[in-house]
Assembly symmetry: C2
Homo-oligomer: 303 residues x 2
């Protein structure tokens, strides 16, 4: 039921990571973020609804985290007639299709616990801007969200679902959605597969962990197999279909994460070696948010 | 800076999972949670501060998700003189050590965006209890949080940090903490390693993904190596030390997740084969929250 909603913004920024052929190194850790710069970035983020990026001067000290923070602007997404979880952890009760900003960068105005107004400041002993309650002092932290799903193998084919909801209505995806409190990633992936494809599956092995820092999402995909050779579209799918690897509709995929997952899977199948993949999906500078081809897979590591 | 805080409650409940030798199957997906039961569990969770479990009758239809939800009660944790992120996404500005309940089950009384009071109900088209704003209609979702860390290999030893903060003050852990919005898991693990051990590391490969559904945490651990043979305790560590595998202080580890990670690592080293591990950590029924030995690793899968 919970929808994996992935919209990536175009970017004109550059990252400051240092990548090696064997591993991955971030180069920010010796540089403490200057508070003024962080503040500036935060304010910009909060006020830039529906814009993907706030073009701004790169900090003098190129901090990976700060750069990412500045880039983490307002992926938008629509929702359907169902009240659904959003990638920002919020939703609307409206039954109309609406476009909203991402809560990951939305300004938090009130304390969830006491209702007091919040201020946005860097707490003592921290380096990052937070929403702090002016009444009870509670700090609200926002963390990345996990999307869990299954890559179902059956008769040398894989199962895809055509989305019946926004965003990416009518495009194909692996069955996946937000992990809920109280379930494991595998349980969540099995649940989402049932909800979207009415398929009973057994998770066989972990396959991929793909981060999308820009929108605060992490995709965890498992290889799975059908327990019974039956499936049918759930309410969030128009249709479900098994595709041979040569027929996967890469031009009609809903999300970059699914394109990456399927490409890695095809490479593994061709190589005759199943691996576990980790990587970061970064949108290609200047590309459209809806262009699922416009990304780079960075820091790709395997086990 | 962000602390991975892991306290597991004792349990008298049973799970309804069906585990096979090859894969993992959850058996809940055909059974829609009865709303009344969900409601009851939610109310109980919200009112049971500082108690780990609310003993209750197992639902007539044993739903894995519901069972987990009922069990997801109130891990407690303390915080130090620094204002830190908590596993519930909240914190206190108090400088005193305090014990608070987990926000993952804390009642959300107010809307973060408009300040309106919330009601707790099951939204149309959903199956789970949510906090819904009575003014603007926004729904607040709570999702599991990711803890990221590094298992650093150096001269056939691994680097551990002795905690200088609560919980588990004085006990040993791998450097790890909450993933932040805007960074990848690898970047977060590198950042945490710098903050806790002042060690510059390169992430070599993903090693383990361990879910702890009870407390809404997921641990992502990377194998890493020192870029320079230097490390020293950060402010949140009393000391940092390299341990040979025979000398790892399993009786003085801070968290079950670290015990599991290190045991899997030792098994891999002895087998001469590095793998990627996925699994669910479930606390052993009747055990103490502070007993890091009292767990089972369920649904262990490898890649």
């Amino acid at each position: 039921m919970l929808k994996a909603i992935q919209n990536l913004g175009s970017s004109t920024t550059t990252t400051t990571t240092t990548t090696t052929t064997k591993g991955f190194v971030a180069s920010f850790y010796r540089l403490k973020p200057p508070h003024a710069t962080t503040t500036s970035a935060f304010v910009s983020i909060s006020s830039s609804l529906l814009s993907y990026y706030s073009p701004r001067t790169r900090p003098t000290k190129p901090l990976l985290f700060l750069t990412r923070k500045t880039r983490s602007l307002e992926p938008v997404r629509a929702h359907s007639t169902r009240s659904e979880s959003k990638m920002d952890g919020t939703s609307s009760s409206s039954s109309a299709v609406a476009v909203q900003s991402s809560g990951s960068v939305r300004k938090i105005n009130f304390c969830q616990w006491c209702g007091g107004q919040t201020k946005h400041d860097i707490p003592d002993g921290e380096e990052k801007m937070r929403a702090i309650c002016t009444v009870c002092g509670k700090i609200t932290y926002q963390n990345p969200k996990m999307v869990v799903g299954c890559l179902i193998e059956h008769d040398n084919k894989v199962l895809l679902c055509k989305r019946n909801i926004q965003p990416s209505f009518g495009l194909w995806t692996l069955p996946a959605g937000y992990l809920e409190i109280g379930e494991s990633a595998a349980e969540g992936a099995i649940r989402e597969t049932w909800e979207e494809a009415h398929a009973e599956v057994e998770v066989v092995s972990p396959f991929a962990h793909l981060d999308i820092p820009l929108i605060g999402q992490t995709y965890i995909i498992f290889l799975a197999k059908l327990r019974k050779p039956h499936f049918s579209p759930g309410p969030e799918s128009l249709e479900c279909q098994l595709f041979s690897l040569d027929d996967i509709p890469f031009d009609s995929l809903a999300f970059s994460s699914m394109a990456v997952t399927l490409k890695l899977y095809i490479e593994d199948v061709k190589a005759g070696s199943r691996k576990f993949h980790y990587g970061t999906i970064n949108k290609r500078p200047g590309s459209s948010p809806s262009d699922t081809h416009a990304y780079t897979l960075d820091n790709h590591l395997q086990s």
